[in-house]
């Protein structure tokens, strides 16, 4: 496989995961209500912009926060490289460069996804936001389903998987960071409301209740989302999967001891940290440091992968 193809696959995994995360996050924020939402017109929409971390980009284009502008910007705007449509569009363009290596079902699904988004307008979203984002999630799920059921378990599949789980770990970390920072000075109730929204935004509300039905506290929510071993969107679960994908990449033995091993070691280290994390680290002030360091690890791992797999130059004679 060409280095460039490996990178394209990795990013297909990331982009599709990101699009799905965006859809879920927007849907949840759209439907939750906060006190400030009633006091200040536009608060709800600026909150959504902050949840996606695109305030600067948004304000370069718009003066105020209106439902129409915000939804259009984060969902359909191709000029915003982080919009939902941009993610799908870029995944589609990446897949287009290696169509010949992948099952055609994947192309059909992602190309239709891209065409469909291209035909949507803000009016279509506004006429039924929940239905709209539901459809996005379903299309992303279709892609995942096709990839799980028809793809050979070779390097191609492993790279898509690596992209997906690195993105997922980063996403959950980022959402939690946003909450802990913004709730720092507030009372426990404010944190609680937001953490509940976070749970929902990773579709973890029902799963969480099975573990902590009688003890819904910020600590338990944080613990669940960081280290639960069975919830597929927890950071720990993501790192277990990520390490597995990386370790099972089949590369020439001559290449061992090089970048590949370093990547596995790095992922394994983060995984181990999560495996042995103490309860105390996930509460109070400590959790911010933990999340900060996890975010740093994710980004470092992304860079190491880039150096190890995607950007190699020259011939080793």
């Amino acid at each position: 496989m060409l280095n460039r193809n490996a990178e394209a696959l990795f990013w297909i995994g990331r982009y599709i995961e990101r699009a799905e995360n965006h859809a879920r996050l927007i849907d949840v924020h759209y439907h939750i209500q906060q006190e400030e939402d009633f006091r200040a017109e536009g608060h709800k929409w600026s909150r959504l912009i902050d949840a996606l971390g695109v305030r600067n980009e948004y304000q370069q284009q718009f003066d105020g926060f209106s439902e129409q502008d915000v939804l259009s910007f984060i969902t359909l705007d191709l000029g915003n490289s982080n919009s939902l449509f941009s993610c799908v569009h870029q995944a589609r363009n990446n897949l287009r460069t290696l169509r010949q290596h992948l099952p055609s079902e994947l192309w059909d699904i992602i190309n239709s996804f891209n065409l469909w988004l291209g035909e949507q307008s803000v009016a279509d979203i506004l006429s039924g936001p929940h239905q709209f984002y539901q459809q996005v999630k379903e299309r992303a799920a279709m892609f995942l389903g096709a990839e799980q059921s028809v793809m050979l378990r070779g390097n191609e599949w492993r790279f898509i998987g690596s992209g997906r789980f690195l993105e997922r770990a980063e996403n959950t970390t980022r959402i939690l960071q946003a909450v802990t920072v913004s709730c720092k000075s507030k009372d426990i109730n404010a944190i609680y409301t937001q953490l509940q929204a976070v749970l929902k935004s990773v579709s973890g509300y029902q799963a969480f209740r099975r573990y902590y039905a009688d003890a819904m506290s910020p600590e338990s929510i944080l613990e669940f989302l960081i280290v639960n071993a069975y919830f597929p969107r927890s950071i720990r679960f993501s790192f277990h999967k990520l390490e597995e994908h990386l370790a099972k990449l089949r590369l020439d033995s001559s290449e061992k001891g090089s970048g590949h091993e370093r990547v596995i070691r790095q992922a394994g280290k983060i995984k181990a940290e999560l495996d042995y994390m103490e309860k105390e680290e996930m509460s109070g002030d400590l959790v911010e440091d933990v999340l900060q360091s996890l975010m740093g690890s994710c980004q470092k791992l992304g860079r190491t992968m880039e150096g190890a797999f995607f950007r190699r130059e020259g011939v080793s004679a």
Binding site: M1, L2, R4, N93, R96, R99, D252, R312, V315
Partner: protein, 487 residues
Amino acid sequence: MSKLDPLPGLSPYPLQHFYDEMYAEERSIRPHYKHVNRMFSGMSPEELQLKQKMMQRRMMEEGITFTLYNPAQDHPMERTIPFDMIPRIIPKGEWERLEAGIVQRITALNLFIHDIYHEQYIVKDGIVPRRMIISNCYFRPEMSGLRVPGGAYVTTSGIDLIRHHDGEYYVLEDNLRTPSGFSYLFKGRSLMNQLFPELSLASSIRDVDHSLNRFLSVLRSLSPSRTKDPVIALLTPGEYNSAYYEHAFLAQQMGIHLVEGRDLVAQDHKVYLKEMNGMRRVDVLYRRLDDDFLDPLAFQPNSLLGVAGLMNAYRAGNIAIANAPGTGVADDKAMYVYVPDMIRYYLNEEPILGNVPTYLLSRTMERQYVLDHLKEMVVKETSLSGGYGMLIGSEASKDELAEFRLKILADPARYIAQPIMSLSRAPVLSGGRMTPRHIDLRAFVLMGADRKPHVIPGGLTRVAMKEGSLVVNSSQGGGVKDTWVMA
């Protein structure tokens, strides 16, 4: 009786003085079109429009598109090529003559390119003037004396032909560098088979699929290494190139690597693919990139698209390049005039297919004739292309004609002139009805190390989508038709 064909046998539109592919002069259907005509006449306009929509939608879904790149736009636009459902049909005998003529032409052109980069006999014998080589911007001195695998320079080529109102085919242009359109030919056929299975099953049409296998074996035949399974890669400028779909399609169909310059590295006079598992040596490179961009060390130093050191590897005989660099020396507008002479010179045969009559204005008699008939001529400046420096006599004003007359007299060698040709017409479906459009034909030729040209049966019929227009280019909104050769 259907709405398409109010009186059976009569054409649904006036033929005027053009040659019509489906209807003969006496306004009866040409025999080889009877079956297709009956089929389309039997369908209602609504049904036809529905099929047309399905076709367009299918092309979008599959991503059968070309990219229109506009620097003013953030994102390049992908468009489907308008695909007309009424096939163009070429009867057996007619095709055999075309095929023989094209094979003859490509054989001579290939010999010419070899000659130009070696002994240049044709120049020494005074058939082609030396200045035409030296002043030619597609001439590559780097290719001089270089031995090309199998002596095959024009691995793939596209010959554009038109049919004049006299019913004869004329060669309009030879495309010997990186002709495109293969994918539309193959994909158009498979779309037709999906939409009208009954139609293609009931007709005996020459198959085009085996030409794809031929394509691969032609590329393999060029491999300079003795390995059983040579590594072949298609070099594309990237996903924003207008023909990117074609590049991906061909790579996929032939099972060869689709690469960009940054996927390759040249070292020790060899070219390698940068792969996950290390480096893999490339034997044959089918490039869809212009000469200028192939190798920044040899050609344009600021190009990022190619591979630094590719030409050294090529010179060392470690890699084959299809098409060979420098083939453009033979498809230049002015060189076109000499192709019939090349056929006589190298093959000692009379050309089977004619050129569009072309006058060299440096010759006194021809110049006088052209000046006397300027209103019926297209005058072109030899060194320019893309419609620049051109006069279309029938559309020019008195002043423009006078102005061009002076230009020609001032520097006659700069110009050629051709009579205005009338492209034949074929019916297309528009709004569920048959209407006439001008068409041409791009015939594709493949040639491997055995130097036996293979013409893909049919080729690509290009359609001017606007009524009366003669412009068939896809970038100008032109469409295509499936082209059938009867077995």
